[in-house]
Symmetry: C2
Subunit: 347 residues, 2 copies
DNA sequence: CTGAAAGCGCTTACAG
DNA sequence: CTGAAAGCGCTTACAG
């Protein structure tokens, strides 16, 4: 009866008929627009409820908003993204915005397709986590849609907001921590991305800190892909070389856990033969079998702030804002030799 | 010029003008509909390319399809879902369908909202992974949208397709494996869900297998939530009780890794004092520090098949199909006491 | 405060 | 094979 035969959906027209008002009036109630009498509001709301009306987001998007926010993640294997999502979720909880996620498989081309397809679906705003797309793609996109990035560093960006932890400082803190615990030959296991600015920042911080501690001769950066096999091959080679480092700083926890596995298989004791440090301080760090020292950048805060900034953008803010979290090292067993290491405590 | 001022978007109308044909003709080329001359096709395609035309999915959805497939996951913490996603992705690679993900935080109410909002966004079909919503909600939803579930068991379901591994058999294989390795007091760490049929199946298999091996007196099922704190509290209590089991079968890897951590902290040796077995055979099982025996249910196959079935449904198939994968135990160090256990090898 | 009408960008019968 | 027109379910000026 009141239902559209085709889709089984109640439309705004049916609500209007039921309430005895115009379609425009129902629309106004829906949007909580100004200039509607309480009486009409009450009537319309009653009909909506009675008919179990749900506005069609796609139709709303034709003229107005879809109330959809798109979030892109590089992958689903890195548990850090769950923390970010939790933050975004809690920021959006009391709003009418709905989250839709996309995964780019850390591939710039797939990510561009994904972003385009989110715009084709009229999403009201985008949060890009750990984006790898070209700036030449990002700029025009941002000029057309409210956009916030997490984990992307750009100097004086004005067309979109950014949310970051201070990745350079994070790396500096790691080196400082390792040096304070007697490690000297500190290598870095980095990502072989050509576009990740987050990686650039961490590498920069690592180099800088090594220099500051007079350890430039030990600077060694391995840039490796994310597949298990690549990490294994590179790490095995490094740890079996005559020039084996005594500490390995990994760009993310997930990779650090693999390193612990490989080192263990090679018969190396952690942290005595090798210290391992990760980044992101994900829940796996706390597990006794990992006991992984890591850098906390508070994914939940990053997620929360990005959603907050995005909503502001959607509501009309024009000037860019850049939110930065200060990272901190959470020291655990993987870098704390019992009673300190024999060598190098003199600094 | 050729661009719509407002959104900076090229519309089908502008393509039609550029190509000197009607809007309907462009639409037909877009949909690869029958009855279009090669000459017209070529012309239109050239204009599309030249103007960099992208159809607006929301507008297409008003009459036809949006070419969007919605996938719901319980959470982003369980690495198993990355495997499923990989399978779905590879099935959709050569199609024009775009994936949009939603996360329900293992909460039925949030999941229902999520599903509704995906329908409001005119998604062409839905894949529900580890759904927890009520059948009373699922049935009417499935009658309106093509739907496939992964990890949801229903007897003779006819309104949607299901893709599963044989969860009952999986549990049976675990008990059999543990018994063969000398364990007797085998407890199960399960999930306190009231709606998960997957859990019911695994519990059933566990009970049945324990009975088959004459171990009904040792049947012990702990139903616990997914938060770290809940798992910790329950596991600590269990492992410190006088009636401590000698093996613990965990409903998913992620929980099993926590159990390994807790047991380690309590000074229990794995697998000598306690065997631990997980489910899903995620990549973490292979890490030397975990070395976790687990049940492989091939998430990638589950994902691939679900996408395949969904596309068939969208294309019009009416009869339900039910795909089942046979699970297998992947034995690792967490359940293989060196040289076998002293007791109970007599069976 | 309320409503009739136009319009968003597509697809879908229906003529020709 | 091609196109003019109606329509999908909303929102947006614009009258009243």
């Amino acid at each position: 009866m009141a239902q559209n035969q085709k889709s089984g959906r109640v439309t705004i027209k049916e609500v209007a008929e039921d309430a005895g008002v115009s379609v425009a009036a129902v629309s106004k109630v829906l949007r909580e627009a100004y200039g509607v009498s309480e009486a009409l509001k009450t009537k319309v709301r009653a009909s909506m409820k009675k008919l179990n009306y749900r506005p069609l987001a796609t139709a709303r998007g034709m003229r107005g908003q879809t109330f959809t926010i798109g979030v892109t993640f590089p992958d689903l294997r890195n548990p850090f993204f769950a923390d970010i999502l939790a933050g975004i979720n809690s920021a959006l909880e009391r709003t009418q915005y709905q989250l839709m996620l996309g995964v780019s498989l850390s591939t710039p081309l797939i990510e561009e397709t994904l972003i385009d397809s989110m715009i084709d679906r009229q999403m009201d705003g985008l949060i890009l986590v750990g984006t790898t797309v070209n700036p030449a793609f990002l700029e025009p996109t941002a000029s057309r849609k409210p956009l916030v990035t997490i984990g992307h560093h750009v100097e004086g960006e004005s067309s979109f907001d950014t949310v970051n932890n201070d990745d350079r400082l994070g790396a500096i803190l790691v080196v400082r921590h390792l040096v304070a615990n007697g490690y000297r030959k500190i290598a870095m296991l980095s990502l072989n991305s050509t576009t990740s600015t987050l990686i650039t920042e961490r590498e920069h911080g690592y180099r800088q800190a090594m220099g500051d501690h007079g350890l430039q001769e030990h600077v060694q950066i391995l840039r490796v892909g994310q597949t298990l096999r690549e990490v294994q091959t590179a790490t095995r080679r490094l740890l079996q070389s005559p020039d084996k480092p005594d500490a390995l700083f990994c760009w993310t926890d997930f990779i650090a856990l693999e390193v612990i596995s490989i080192a263990t298989e090679l018969g190396l004791a952690i942290p005595d033969d090798l210290a391992v440090v990760g980044y992101d301080n994900t829940m796996y760090c706390d597990f006794a079998q990992n006991n992984l020292t890591s850098v906390d950048q508070s994914g939940e805060v990053l997620g929360l702030q990005s959603a907050r900034l995005l909503i502001e953008r959607i509501r009309g803010r024009q000037e860019a804002e850049h939110f930065v979290v200060t990272p901190r090292v959470v020291a655990r067993g993987s870098s704390l030799a019992v009673g300190g290491r024999g060598m190098g405590q003199g600094s």
